[in-house]
Amino acid sequence: MRPGPRATLPLMHALEVTDLHKRYGRVRALRGVSFALEPGEVFGYLGPNGAGKTTTLRILLGLVRADRGRARLLGEPAGRPAGRERVGFVPGELRLPGGMTGRALLDHVARFRPGRPPVLRERLLDALDLRESDLARRVKWLSHGTRQKVGLVAALQHDPDLVLLDEPTNGLDPLVQRAFRDVVRELAARGRAVLFSSHVLSEVEAVCGRVAVLQAGELLAVEDIGALRARLTRRLEVRFRGPAPADLGSLPGVTRAEAAGSEATLWLQGDVNPLLRRLAAAEVEHLVFPELQLEDVFLDLYRAGGGPAR
């Protein structure tokens, strides 16, 4: 991706959220959420559906009013149109004007920022494999995945300094998901800040440096993805060429072990390499690390004893 004309940002938080509270009737959607993003950072915003991720993003864009707390985007208070000039946003439920063609939609969105031409459009079309024939069709006739791609290009084509992504890979096939993650990494490498909201842990792990974990409107943790990974208990399923060894529970890093015949399930924390070295001494036939689920993260964070963290 070729560098945009604005390679650096002044020294400030790209995004700053302080003590946000929001209530919808009796439901407390956000309870004192605080975090900040630096330029060049891809920040994961992780939580199950209904955790308050979309509400946070909507407050940042001025679509929803916070009951308490404040948020600033690129130095501007959230909600001011000037702040959104340099922001790109992909909503979780992307709804586009169906009567327009894809090309007309991209032009329509670009015209809202006359001072920021869509310098990344062609690069993004190429990366996301969007063809001219797709763009010539009305949006309502496009498949869900293609519509999502058009939405991504519309959000990023003006090379925004801050990118807000709400479940951006919904409906994308795995190849395009990978290409999109590459785009996000390239944006970050050029100093753009990215808030990546998702309920898929593996996706956040793949692309984010830090992560905030949100549940029921409360932040459980804000930390480096490596640190989060290190403190999480991972599950490992092993099938041996003979009966499972008896001393699995005492292997390095293993906190719990269950064995039945030749198969065993191990739960381990921290570095996996000492365990793999010890397992190599046995006759292993098959070994799987099932993908870590969001529920595992929450359970671990609660088990860690800290409870909800600010």
């Binding site: 929803v64 909503p91 439920e93």
Partner: protein, 266 residues
């Protein structure tokens, strides 16, 4: 704002053009009927054979006068003429906020560097232009039809007053529906509410004009202030009707803005 106006033109242009053409065609047709049929004589005979209540109703519509001016004014007071203009006013207002909340596109639009006041201003400006277009299309039908069928032409001042009064009625309906729209989440429901307001106003006005117990309600209807017969047949001034209808429209707009500026979206 030009960007939004372009979008609105693409989205609603055909609908507005069709409604305008239908209104123009309807007014042309009224001219054709007035010119080619002895409506005056036919109506006079018909009225004499009617029960007294219906005689009163027809007299209210034509003020006991079956002149061609009065008959052309009837063309502007006719439910079809009112429904066509009301459709434009109500649909545009319902779609401005509630319709866009319902289809979800307001989220993408307001995530752009666009202030809410500019968003609403673009919708109001487009609607005003659309209502002017529909009004002018109707007037063009009356003028062109009158010319084509050799009817005595109206003075420009009367036509201007008629157009202003019709436009003001549509503005009132637009303002009220926009206020509903600012509170709503579904365009269809808001449009239904707008049509109900228009229908109730029309019915109360018609019934109140015929039936004494409902007479006190008449000044509270929008249609009491829409007076094509007074303008075309009697040449009356319309400052008060115009002020009332535009006042209702502005009040609706103020409520709509007060709500839209503060509400959570979508």
């Amino acid at each position: 704002m030009r960007n939004l106006l372009r979008l609105l033109l693409a989205r609603h242009g055909l609908f507005v053009a069709v409604c305008g053409a239908l209104l123009g065609g309807f007014e042309w047709l009224i001219c054709a009927v007035v010119a080619s049929v002895d409506v005056t004589g036919a109506l006079g005979t018909l009225v004499q054979s009617m029960p007294s209540l219906l005689q009163t109703m027809v007299a209210e519509q034509f003020l006991g006068d079956f002149s061609k001016s009065s008959l052309l004014a009837f063309g502007w007071a006719h439910p079809i003429a009112q429904a066509l203009g009301a459709a434009v006013a109500i649909v545009l207002a319902a779609q401005a906020v509630a319709g866009r909340v319902e289809d979800g596109t307001i989220e993408l639009t307001l995530a752009q560097p666009l202030a809410r006041r500019r968003y609403l201003a673009a919708h109001v400006l487009f609607a005003l232009l659309a209502l002017v277009f529909v009004t002018l299309a109707g007037l063009t039908g009356t003028v062109a039809g009158g010319h084509a069928y050799g009817l005595e032409p109206f003075r420009a001042r009367e036509l201007a007053r008629l157009g202003l009064d019709y436009f003001a009625l549509l503005c009132a309906l637009y303002g009220l529906t926009l206020a509903f729209s600012a509170f709503g989440r579904e365009g269809g429901r808001v449009a239904t509410a707008g049509f109900l307001v228009a229908l109730v106003s029309y019915l109360v006005h018609v019934i109140g004009s015929m039936w004494e117990p409902w007479k006190p309600l008449v000044p509270w209807t929008l249609h009491a202030w829409y007076v094509p017969r007074d303008i075309l047949a009697q040449g009356k001034a319309i400052a008060r009707p115009l002020g009332t209808l535009l006042g209702v429209g502005l009040a609706g707009l103020a409520v709509a803005w007060a709500r839209f500026a503060r509400r959570d979206l979508p």
